[in-house]
């Protein structure tokens, strides 16, 4: 029996649209053992509730999405991190929030909990008052001649989110980067409990502000799946318009930020100008530059403004007129391309081991895109083209973004041409059920899980793609020089707030 057979043979619990498998702890341990021999099965996320551990798998062969759970016994469960390195951060987070320990987990140090919370574990049934003084973070040990450490953060030099980067270097060369996050932990999962999906959507929309549309969408999908309601066709279309505008804005911002870190502000200025144009168009269309709270469970909070289609058409025309010239400028500037190529290379093997999604995966030969998963209206009728590059360096990640700008432009035009008429929202029934929702944000695949009782949320998890991307940044920077870190970091652009929960 292999891991997949084990999963398929397990009894299922109702969870829409993917039934949740329940494994005994022995079978879960067996699953962990099989996973080591079967690198193909992708681990997308892990989370917990007060009694169970949950994991979400993706089988690339059948394209199946498989949630699976096991009961925690005396505070313990068998670890998945020895077989799936991406599980390590999830296991540390699970212990900090729910108090369940992964037996034989590869890393037992705290993750989100830096020792400042009033009661721990905060999401356990009965958290205990935390009376201990916070202890300094413990970093991985290092030994070797001529090594030194550079500590950066949590407060960074730029206008970005806080986190701590600990570089171990040999001269200018980075030997190891260790990333420590958790500074932005706002207790979002706790705030979701006891609220209706409509009320809780505001928190999903603020998990990571740059992906507010994508997270609100995944959250709405999860709530709608649980309630067995589909958003009206017009709402699904409008949501896709918002999601593509968000992708456009972020890719433009990212490309500009990357070239700026290679000291080429001319291009950055143009890309930032186009980004501003997208934000203004979003404001014209939906009344908010980031389109925050425009998506609600059941549909959309607002319809497209009457002037919206023209504003978007003008935006796309302007972008399409200038973009080829900007790409040519990028290609023709040897000193710029030289900084990009061969810098921060992420091998396809490593990207696959971590099931990296989004731009990062697609730049390292992993064409996964959640818009291709069946049941994701209206993309199931749009035939989205997924760009793919194999060289995995900063340049590849820029080129994926450039290619996606073109594809997103095409999708936006198509969406506006085929915009159906009809209502933009439906009420949700007061359900007692579970649901999983997903969306493809500009960073990659987002997964939300909700459990409702009498229409109120009793447990939830919101998985940003950054969980499986941050650790790869640690790997990609190895053997690069410290001065190239900003470049690599911008080309990954992982979310801090999104994983700090």
């Amino acid at each position: 029996m292999n891991a997949l057979a084990l999963l398929h043979a397990a009894p299922t619990l109702p969870c829409a649209p993917f039934p949740r498998r329940l494994l005994s702890q022995q079978d879960w341990a067996l699953l962990a053992a099989h996973l080591a021999a079967e690198p193909g099965l992708d681990l997308l996320a892990m989370w917990a509730d007060p009694t169970h551990i949950h994991a979400l798998f993706h089988d690339p062969d059948s394209a199946d999405i498989i949630p699976v759970s096991t009961a925690v016994e005396v505070g313990l469960y068998p670890a998945l991190s020895p077989a799936r390195p991406a599980a390590a951060w999830f296991e540390r987070m699970i212990r900090d929030l729910w108090g369940h320990t992964a037996a034989d987990g590869t890393d037992q140090r705290p993750w989100l909990d830096h020792g400042h919370w009033p009661a721990t574990p905060p999401l356990a049934t009965r958290p205990l008052p935390n009376l201990a003084a916070p202890e300094p973070l413990e970093f991985l040990p290092f030994e070797g001649e001529g090594l030194h450490q550079i500590a950066v953060g949590p407060v960074h030099a730029g206008i970005i989110e806080p986190g701590h980067f600990r570089f171990t270097c040999n001269g200018e060369t980075v030997v190891r980067l260790e990333i420590r996050l958790g500074y932005l932990h706002k207790g979002t999962l706790g705030l979701l409990r006891g609220k209706s999906p409509r009320a809780a959507a505001r928190f999903a929309a603020r998990l990571s502000g740059d992906s507010t549309v994508a997270h609100a969408l995944a959250f709405a999908h999860a709530a709608e799946a649980a309630c067995a309601v589909a958003a009206p066709p017009r709402a699904a279309h409008l949501r896709a318009v918002m999601a593509e505008l968000e992708r456009l804005a972020n890719h433009l911002g990212d490309i500009g930020a990357i070239v700026n870190d290679a000291s080429f502000p001319l291009l950055q200025a143009r890309f930032a100008w186009h980004r501003e144009a997208v934000l203004r168009t979003a404001h014209t269309c939906f009344g908010h530059r980031l389109m925050m709270d425009a998506i609600i469970p059941g549909g959309c909070a607002c319809d497209l403004a009457e002037t919206g289609p023209d504003a978007i058409a003008l935006l796309l025309d302007t972008l399409q007129t200038e973009l080829p010239g900007l790409i040519r400028l990028y290609d023709d500037t040897a000193s710029l391309v030289d900084r990009m190529q061969g810098t921060g290379t992420l091998t396809p093997e490593l990207a696959a081991r971590f099931a990296a999604g989004g731009v990062i995966g697609r730049a390292s030969a992993r064409p996964f895109d959640a818009r291709r998963i069946p049941g994701y209206a209206p993309y199931d009728r749009l035939d989205v083209t997924i760009p793919q590059f194999d060289h995995g360096d900063v340049d590849a990640r820029v080129r994926v973004r450039l290619a996606e700008l073109a594809e997103t432009t095409r999708l936006l035009r198509l969406l506006l041409e085929t915009l159906p008429q009809g209502p933009i929202a439906l009420p949700l029934p007061m359900a007692t059920a579970e649901g999983i929702g997903w969306s493809e944000g500009f960073r990659g695949d987002i997964w939300h899980w909700l459990r409702l009782e009498g229409g109120l949320i009793t447990a939830a998890f919101l998985a940003d793609p950054s969980w499986r991307q941050w650790p790869l940044l640690e790997a990609a920077i190895e053997c690069n020089i410290v001065a190239d870190f900003p470049l690599c970091n911008k080309s990954f652009n992982c979310s801090y707030s999104g994983v700090d929960l």
Partner: protein, 179 residues
């Protein structure tokens, strides 16, 4: 080639806009006010240090836009600096998470007097939607004395400019407070 783009820019004039609709209708007027206030009061540029003490990053996105060619913050004599030791103003976003609390205080302590604190965004004012969470201590005033708040979730770049202008004007009228 780069020269072609530079030539086009020279021909077409700067992209920096005084009054782009819809949300920045008074940037031109604002610019004039800001410039005269900053120069008459300070006689030099004002340095801002941004600190994220728990934001969702939405506020950062809009602050970043200020540096772009559309808003061009530096024309007002305002600029972002990399260290609190070079800053006059701390522009703080987000609720204060309990985990960021010590780092925020240390950043403030590292900022030389006289200094001002601007709480930017609804979260920074009172915790925003995160009010009541176990993981936050509240708005910025739960950690630092706040001189000015800028509302919005997130505030638009125009609203941020407006707020910074208010800060400078207020201090132009009264003697500098030193904390």
């Amino acid at each position: 080639m780069a020269w072609r783009h530079i030539a086009r820019t020279l021909l077409h004039g700067p992209a920096t806009e005084p009054a782009p609709p819809p949300d920045a209708s008074d940037i031109g007027a604002l610019a004039a006010r800001l410039k005269s206030a900053a120069f008459s009061r300070l006689g030099r540029s004002l340095s801002l240090r941004q600190v994220d003490s728990g934001s969702c990053n939405g506020c950062e996105l809009e602050i970043q836009m200020l540096g772009g060619i559309v808003y061009d913050l530096e024309r007002f004599g305002l600029r972002f600096v990399a260290s609190p030791r070079h800053a006059d103003v701390l522009l703080v976003t987000g609720p204060v998470t309990r985990t960021m609390h010590p780092a925020l205080i240390r950043t403030w302590q590292a900022t030389p007097d006289p200094k001002w604190v601007v709480a930017l965004g609804d979260c920074a004012i009172d915790g925003g939607v995160f009010k009541g969470s176990y993981a936050i201590s509240g708005g910025i005033d739960s950690a630092l004395p706040v001189d000015l708040v800028i509302r919005g979730c997130p505030p638009t770049p125009a609203a941020i400019l407006e707020g910074l202008c208010t800060l400078i004007e207020a201090h132009a009228r009264s003697p500098l407070k030193s904390r």
